[in-house]
């Protein structure tokens, strides 16, 4: 114990960081600040070691809590105890629940019979490899976005567009060239204010590609990859954010890149 003079009050405010500032740091991590607040807090974190330590400590708590409680996909049997006046309704609901559970049970098997295409697996692995990188996450940074687009369009032999994920709080970090199953592939990395990362993987438009893929999901532990094809090109969006959020971003991204997500619903 170094500085034990501070009373252990629940507000935990110490001399350097006020309760208001602590709330701002908390909101900053949860991506709940306005643009102006976010900029102000980011600046504070950059110049004040105590604030930076607080942010790091809070993020560590979040990660530890998530590690403690993982979602249990194993279905629980819900017994619907019929009451006289609900008898008919309840019996139908039991059927509904049973069907729901069956769907849950059969979905993974279905997935095993239809393994994800190679490009989706490559994308997933590329996320696992590059997303944790601090210093070499990308080859070309977002500050040179024009160069990045020109370079990768040339290598993939088609005109690429980098969709904006700004409305989801993710900004482009940059991109890199990767070897793909048939020719070069591109990976674009995005990051939000709390440091979470997403990658968007794109292949060249190979005429060899016969299969078309609806938006589907590949999952490895906490890591999820939504993938699809548009005009012979494969796309995959990977990340470790919640499934619903990632799915929503995937649908938007698919549309932004000329695909029609409605076809897949």
């Amino acid at each position: 114990m170094t500085t034990s003079d501070h009373p252990e009050n629940p507000d935990g405010a110490d001399s350097s960081v006020t309760a208001d500032e602590l709330r701002a740091l908390s909101a900053f991590i949860d991506d709940e600040s306005t643009d102006a607040e976010r900029a102000e807090t980011a600046a504070r974190v950059a110049r004040d070691p105590a604030s930076a330590a607080t942010v790091a400590a809070y993020r560590a708590q979040d990660n530890a809590l998530r590690a403690l409680f993982t979602a249990d996909a194993a279905p629980q049997l819900i017994v619907v105890r019929p009451r006289p006046r609900y008898l008919m309704a309840a019996s139908w609901l039991t059927v509904g629940i049973a069907c729901g559970l069956l769907m849950h049970l059969t979905l993974p098997m279905f997935d095993r019979e239809h393994p994800a295409p190679m490009f989706a697996q490559h994308a997933d692995i590329a996320y696992a490899v590059y997303a944790p990188e601090q210093r070499h996450a990308v080859e070309v940074a977002a500050s040179q976005e024009d160069h990045l687009v020109t370079w990768l369009s040339k290598r993939l032999n088609r005109t690429l567009t980098i969709p904006s994920l700004h409305e989801y709080g993710f900004e482009l970090v940059g991109g890199r060239l990767l070897p793909g199953e048939d020719g070069p592939a591109a990976q674009f990395m995005y990051q939000n204010a709390s440091g979470q990362r997403l990658t968007l993987y794109m292949t060249s438009g190979s005429p060899k590609r016969k299969e078309e893929y609806a938006i589907r999901m590949l999952r490895d532990g906490e890591r999820r990859t939504f993938y699809w094809t548009t005009d012979n090109a494969g796309y995959a969006l990977s990340g470790q954010i919640s499934e619903a959020k990632l799915r929503a971003i995937s649908f938007d991204t698919c549309a932004a890149l000329g695909g029609d997500p409605k076809r897949w619903q």
Binding site: D14, A19, A50, Y58, I78, L93
Partner: protein, 170 residues
């Protein structure tokens, strides 16, 4: 998508939250059972198009608080407190020993614990949490901030003290 299918889709999250909140598997399973039964019984009380997850979490939260009162407030240091029967987790995440984090979590007052779990584990927005708990979003923000600081103190990392997690900043 039918109401029942949507409900089934939320079950894994409900169960995770029930376990985290109670710290007791059996209690959690009973809670999920009760919530599902009530949700099916009060199906008509759910406005189509509103947030089903928040609605279910609210039912669970209210049930839990009622049951907790019935148990006459389990003292946090009580050897018989349900969470003490939980398997001790092994390992560390970001320099925090998971066992310590588990212990600290159940030392928090329930109002702080629930906010922390809803935001950090269930990844709900402050707005969604405010619906679940029926309090203003500003209250969610200050409770969460207090919970995080409280936990930091419980984990022995007073503000400003050098800790392993400082290595995270690079």
């Amino acid at each position: 998508m039918s109401f029942e299918t949507d409900l089934v889709a939320v079950l894994p999250q409900l169960r995770r939250y029930a376990r985290a909140l109670t710290g007791d598997r059996a209690w959690a399973d009973d809670l999920v059972q009760d919530v599902t039964e009530r949700a099916l019984g009060r199906h008509s009380g759910f406005r189509v198009g509103s947030n089903l997850r928040a609605w279910l979490f609210t039912i669970m939260r209210n049930l839990y608080i009622d049951q907790l009162r019935g148990k006459r407030d389990i003292a946090v240091d009580d050897e018989t407190a349900p969470w003490r029967q939980m398997a001790a987790p092994v390992g560390e995440v970001d320099g925090l020993v998971l066992r310590d984090v588990q212990r600290a979590l159940y030392c928090l007052p329930v109002e702080q614990r629930e906010v922390m779990l809803l935001v950090c584990v269930e990844e709900m927005s402050y707005q969604e949490v405010s619906v679940v708990l029926n309090v203003p979003a500003g209250t969610v923000m200050s409770r969460l901030s207090r919970a995080r600081e409280h936990m930091r103190v419980l984990l022995g990392e007073e503000p400003g003290r050098k800790s392993a997690s400082l290595k995270m900043v690079s």
